[in-house]
Symmetry: C2
Amino acid sequence: MADSEQPMMQSGRKCVPHGEGGAGCAVLVVGSIALDSVQTPFGAVQEVLGGAAVYAAAAASFYAPVRMVGVVGTDFPREHLQQLQQWDIDISGIEVREGETFRWSGYYEYDLNQAHTISTHLNVFEGFRPELPRSYRATPYVFLANIDPELQLAVLDQVEQPRLSVCDTMDFWISGKRGALLEVLGRVDVALMNDAEARQLCDTPNLVQAGRRILEMGPRAVVLKKGEHGAAMFTGNGHFAAPAYPLAGVKDPTGAGDSFAGGLVGYLAYTDDFSDENLRKAIICGSVVAAFNVEDFSLERLARVSSDEIVERYRELRAITDFGSM
Amino acid sequence: MADSEQPMMQSGRKCVPHGEGGAGCAVLVVGSIALDSVQTPFGAVQEVLGGAAVYAAAAASFYAPVRMVGVVGTDFPREHLQQLQQWDIDISGIEVREGETFRWSGYYEYDLNQAHTISTHLNVFEGFRPELPRSYRATPYVFLANIDPELQLAVLDQVEQPRLSVCDTMDFWISGKRGALLEVLGRVDVALMNDAEARQLCDTPNLVQAGRRILEMGPRAVVLKKGEHGAAMFTGNGHFAAPAYPLAGVKDPTGAGDSFAGGLVGYLAYTDDFSDENLRKAIICGSVVAAFNVEDFSLERLARVSSDEIVERYRELRAITDFGSM
């Protein structure tokens, strides 16, 4: 989508703790853009901005310039696109196709860890074939949100030797497109998935075994998302256990994993450093952004978060996990 | 049980990182002593040493002298009592009653997080009324393992102003003896339970809310055990998130929570310091001992663990959770 409007940065939103000293590499985000209808014990919303690529891009944009690839229908509200641009997200890779935007409808009960799908209408997303604008092809950081692994491979074929590529996935592809998924895992640098997906992929209930096996499939780092229990990373150098930020007031968990991923990749791009030490910091940055995201519906909370709030929660997570030597 | 044998310390077992500088306070442990028959995907054992008080006492004995209160039948193997004595555990508070020892039989499937009970025969444990030997009454640290909260109260009535008291509990008492349990929570210093029990007790799926509400019930610290996800502590000063030691080879999870509790209380008694900072260290000590415990059936692994191994895993947990500032 060509758009003549210039991105307007919201003052105080960009989280640049290193000041302008950050490398400031851009992040490519490919995935779904949706209109979600969600009900939780704390409220309900109809046809609000959602989709894995949107949550990931919004989260990454706290740290780095973002380039999005996705598809929407002609019914997609123009103000949503403007909102993305305000967050320093390049939307020229978002295709507008005749038809309706992807819609997801679901609810969460008392146990917010479990999403219940009411309906999924792929609409224009069904025929989605990611096509990268020429200006995107040399983007140094690439995040492949949860889409068909064959499409993830098609994106990897179009980018020019990115410095770091990261993929997410889901149970549906693990069972239905295992071959293509294994090919993706053999090509990306960092594999993300949740704990249940890792157990499914490796056919073991033991997460430590699962993490190590996925590492053998190719990525240099495996990051397992565990919701309220935090995240775990496996690399050739060892193990990292990250806490979740302790939240008493979760309102809507939709997009938690996607915003975690976006915050993680955004921080890596901002620092242009994917040492183990910096991957750990990036995971904490992802946790912090995800913790804000679930405090309200859709992108409402992420639209209000300031850089100071992010830095403050990061500090709190350090205090929360600190313990001395025996 | 009076016994003329002197405790024999196993060389290298006591974990005294502060050297003889530790306060070395004793720990009173009250709870079940059992003969367990357990099957997991990794093997099966028949009528082996078990019970919450046994796992907790064995774990605490790495750090502190332990005094046990419990009951066994006349069929209880003498070598088990000798084993406890070898671990510096005073067994003079273990009553031998005419009849059979408490027996539990259960199995774990693929998902080791879920115990399936085949049978529970309380036997002599049914009429258990804890009676503290006079020599036990001034024990400064008290651990009330998971038993009827009315019995926990009876123990609290018999001890003389302990420096710190800690209780565990389970779903059965939360639903069946809520009043007595709330009275216990109003009298102990530290409340331990697992995450599902905390959610049940507070009728909320949110663990952070649950932890804070239990804190309001009286204890100065609430420690929630989350199995493979570690533990969380809530105090008036804030929150602590502790990882579990990453284990690829869990063989039998029986006693994980009890050995965690024992390690925690044992370390507190050894150091005689229950500041928030030291409570955090104690939780890590509990995690380390629990991680050894589940590597084999019954008390097999704890019987072999050396002080050096404990110190090494403690160090590893520090490395596993470490991350720098943003």
